[in-house]
């Protein structure tokens, strides 16, 4: 066993409970491990120092999307934020911005859940009701590649914390939900573009995006929601002029 003195890291963690007037920052000293992520430190605090610290987590491998937080002011999955990147500290951990806080690092996701549902993120087909499941729909690797990137969203919501539009508008449907709308619109098996049109093209939809691109910069899964929104704007614009100038080409 090593006799060296353990290196400690200071954590400044945002604390809040609904019956408090003000949030506060609590400082914890956590032993430094080169292979630890911020989530390991939070678990260390909860298990050995303070069981009241409240946060969400599960898979600790970057796929369940539960553990997003602001780490030193930047939206991160805490299970993918290595302490070594923040040394010598201190490391400040706060709830994702642009969401209401329920307690400590736990934010309210209900607004996002409504937005997700509003874009109808499921396969819509005219033959949906009569589907007999005899065989798979064919989809070539090239057709698959068109939407594949946008299907990788884990709903971690880092993009909403990074989005300047979401910071001043609760109504803006936002990067993840719009990327998922585009994911289905681009899927060769889907026929739901018309049904999603109104939601995506309405005021709170793609046109509100000011294309700062922060959403894509923070996305841990390289989904590129900004790219999805730009694509949708392009399609929306073409569609607008087509409706205006060539109405006979538009499906009723």
């Amino acid at each position: 066993m090593s006799t060296a003195i353990e290196t400690m890291v200071k954590f400044e963690v945002f604390r809040y409970q609904p019956d408090w007037d003000e949030p506060t920052y609590q400082v914890y000293d956590v032993p430094y491990h080169e292979d630890w992520v911020v989530l390991d430190a939070l678990n260390y605090i909860k298990d050995t120092i303070d069981g009241t610290l409240t946060y969400r987590w599960s898979c600790r491998m970057g796929v369940c999307g539960s553990c997003g937080a602001m780490v030193n002011g930047y939206p991160k999955l805490t299970c993918a934020a290595f302490l070594s990147e923040y040394m010598p500290g201190p490391i400040r951990v706060e709830p994702l911005v642009n969401f209401n806080v329920e307690r400590d690092l736990v934010t309210n996701l209900e607004g996002f859940m409504d937005k997700l549902e509003s874009v109808q993120p499921w396969i819509i087909r005219d033959d949906g009701a009569t589907d007999e499941l005899k065989s798979e729909y064919l989809q070539t690797p090239a057709q698959h590649a068109v939407y594949q990137q946008f299907s990788m969203c884990i709903n971690c919501l880092l993009c909403y914390a990074a989005c300047p539009v979401s910071s001043h508008s609760d109504e803006f449907i936002g990067p993840a939900a719009l990327a998922l709308a585009q994911r289905y619109n681009l899927d060769s098996r889907d026929e739901g573009v018309e049904q999603r049109r109104d939601v995506i093209l309405k005021d709170e939809g793609i046109w509100e995006c000011s294309f700062v691109g922060e959403c894509s910069a923070v996305c841990p899964k390289h989904v590129d929601p900004a790219g999805a929104i730009q694509q949708a704007k392009m399609t929306g614009a073409i569609d607008y002029y087509r409706r205006l100038l060539m109405p006979w080409t538009v499906k009723s």
């Binding site: 069981g51 599960s58 898979c59 796929v63 369940c64 329920e102 549902e117 396969i123 065989s135």
Partner: protein, 599 residues
């Protein structure tokens, strides 16, 4: 509380992962008149189905047959699977996977546009459908997003179910804590489906996420339903040391190999066949070497460790999983998540280095005793997915059968629970109120327990430690009994567990305590079942009883919770239809056998 405020549904699903969502959609599609509730302690897209990687088995290609999938599954189970259930499972699997395809699951494709399949351990034909190496993620999100379209489904996201409500011999709902408020409320229903997943968190080193604490199993157990085959715990042979993060079997399906500290492909020494050179076009060979079943590969690791043939690191022994020869392009196309995980959490790039791996607790073959209809012995209660034990997995599950199990049995549970609900009266709310009050009192006792007892994290650490010591890959009578005693002691000490957090809103300290309470029940049931099965079969290896004993133990174990809370174990015959128990052979011995049969 007035009737208006009551939470009531026809069918209540507990658990919002793959099985629960599939069940809910089955009810919504086929019985649009029925009201459905889904209670989940996390938002459904966080459910642990999300972490499954390699793929999902179903017969779809012309060179494959149901007969082959059935045989692979039964021999993989070391003949402990119920053969009628396996036959039905294999028959229904392709339709369910096509259904997922029609719901948008982005399966990886062949150039023709048909779904692609890959090899998997213990399967003698390539039949594993996959969405790169994030199959579970895509399946879960496809199911969740699909379920959003049904107005008859009401979700209780971040509600923690605590107890089943049973009256007149019929399950009629559950109590659950709304995390946002801390309120415990009854949710009444005409039938209930448990789909809460496994309980890998009773062990210290597991691929399972923090939420896999087996709450649903414990609720069924406490309601008088047996837990079946709990002694069978699957160690996946390739987890990252330290974190236990899963490196998918698909990495071996694509041609990855395991090497010990001498650089040898050591599986050749464990009756799994002969290694072929990596440039041999026949590599990887199905049901051979690295594509042997998980139990045998994990056991081989322990033997190598005993011989001193493993590497040692800060998180114990490990061997090398080498996929370098696949090349960067193939790794990035077929195994992008493996590369991401190895880089982020293993600190190595598998394109140029071998990945350190060791066996890690991954899956429970055992679970709530269900029949082929997903029904339990308690009328109105159904279960599906990892929390259930039909059994199609027996003593060892084959990789890529579990995601398929979620949808096949999830759909069956949904249909059967819907039928049951349609023929049943509403819950007897008046008679159930006292149970709700009792449950409220039980939780208040934990919350208001005077200080001075052990903290949740300490008891949990001791539980997981003793489980690994006594109920790991190799077991002995003495070791299991020691573990059982330690668990009994922990069960006592839990009575005075001391919470740091005494508040209501999002009290995760309280939830952890309730989870620990459930895990202690499950650990005891597991240890008792392992103690009483004095043979070795599949994942249950007793060094003091090294052989399979079909005369005594071609049977499922059934652990019932006795009046004093301790498990009582009995046994029930396995269903054999067409495949009498045979010797379980892989690799060269199998090829030799096949050659003899053909000649």
């Amino acid at each position: 509380m007035s009737a208006v405020d009551q939470l009531q549904h026809d069918v209540l699903v507990i658990g919002g992962g793959g099985a629960g969502l599939r069940a809910a959609i089955a009810v919504a599609q086929e019985h649009p008149d029925l009201s459905i509730g889904i209670v989940s302690k996390v938002y459904p897209m966080r459910s642990h189905t999300v972490a499954a990687e390699g793929g999902m088995a179903a017969v779809i290609k012309d060179n494959d047959s149901a007969e082959d999938h059935i045989y692979d599954t039964i021999s993989g189970s070391d003949w402990l699977a119920d053969q009628d259930a396996v036959e039905m499972f294999v028959e229904e699997a392709p339709r369910e996977l096509i259904q997922l395809e029609h719901w948008g699951c982005p399966w990886s494709r062949e150039a023709t546009g048909h779904v692609a399949v890959r090899p998997f351990g213990g399967m003698k034909i390539q039949r594993t459908w996959f969405a790169t190496d994030k199959t579970g993620f895509h399946v879960l999100h496809s199911l969740f997003q699909t379920c959003l379209q049904f107005p008859s489904i009401t979700r209780y996201d971040e509600w923690f179910a605590t107890k089943l409500l049973v009256d007149d011999g019929r399950c009629q709902g559950c109590t659950a804590i709304e995390l946002r408020t801390g309120q415990l409320r009854p949710i009444y229903a005409k039938s209930v489906i448990i789909a809460t997943g496994g309980a890998g968190r009773i062990f210290p080193f597991t691929t399972n996420g923090a939420i896999k604490t087996g709450d649903g199993l414990a609720m069924a157990y406490r309601a008088g339903v047996a837990l079946k085959d709990m002694e069978f715990v699957q160690y996946h042979p390739t987890g990252l040391p330290g974190t236990g993060i899963l490196i998918t079997e698909a990495s071996r399906g694509e041609g990855g190999v395991l090497r010990n500290n001498k650089g040898e492909r050591y599986l050749a020494d464990y009756d799994l066949g002969e290694p072929l050179p990596l440039d041999d076009p026949r590599h990887p060979q199905l049901r051979t070497m690295e594509l042997g079943p998980r139990d045998r590969l994990s056991q081989a690791f322990i033997k190598e460790q005993e011989k001193g043939n493993t590497y040692s690191g800060p998180y114990g022994s490990y061997v090398h999983l080498d996929i370098q020869h696949l090349g960067e392009h193939r790794i990035d196309t077929k195994l992008p998540f493996v590369r991401e995980l190895a880089r982020n959490y293993g600190g190595i790039d598998p394109v140029t280095e071998s990945i350190p791996v060791r066996p890690v607790v991954h899956y429970m073959m055992g679970g709530i005793d269900t029949d082929i209809e997903a029904a339990t012995s308690l009328p109105g209660l159904y279960a599906a997915g990892e929390c259930a034990c039909v059994s199609i997995n027996g003593a060892n599950r084959l990789g890529s059968n579990s995601l398929t199990e979620l949808v096949v049995f999830g759909a069956r549970a949904g249909r059967n629970a819907a039928q049951f609900a349609s023929a049943s009266d509403p819950a007897a709310v008046d008679r159930l109120e006292s149970q709700v009050d009792e449950e409220r009192a039980r939780i208040r006792r934990i919350l208001e327990q005077p200080s001075g007892g052990d903290r949740v994290a300490e008891l949990r650490r001791e539980m997981t430690t003793t489980m690994e010591e006594g109920a790991g890959i190799y077991r002995t009578q003495e070791g299991i009994e020691q573990t059982y005693d330690t668990l009994s002691d922990l069960r006592e000490r839990f009575g005075s567990v001391d919470l740091d957090d005494r508040t209501n809103v999002y009290n995760t300290d309280l939830i952890s305590a309730l989870e620990l309470d459930y895990m202690l029940d499950l650990s005891l049931a597991l240890a008792a079942s392992a103690r009483d099965r004095t043979e070795s079969r599949g994942s249950h290896q007793r060094t003091d009883h090294p052989d399979r004993d079909d005369d005594q133990f071609l049977k499922h174990s059934l652990a019932m919770r006795g009046d004093d809370g301790t498990p009582e174990v009995s046994f029930r015959d396995v269903v054999i239809t067409k495949w009498p128990p045979g010797s379980r052979t892989y690799g060269s011995s199998e090829q030799a056998k096949a050659a003899t049969t053909e000649s």
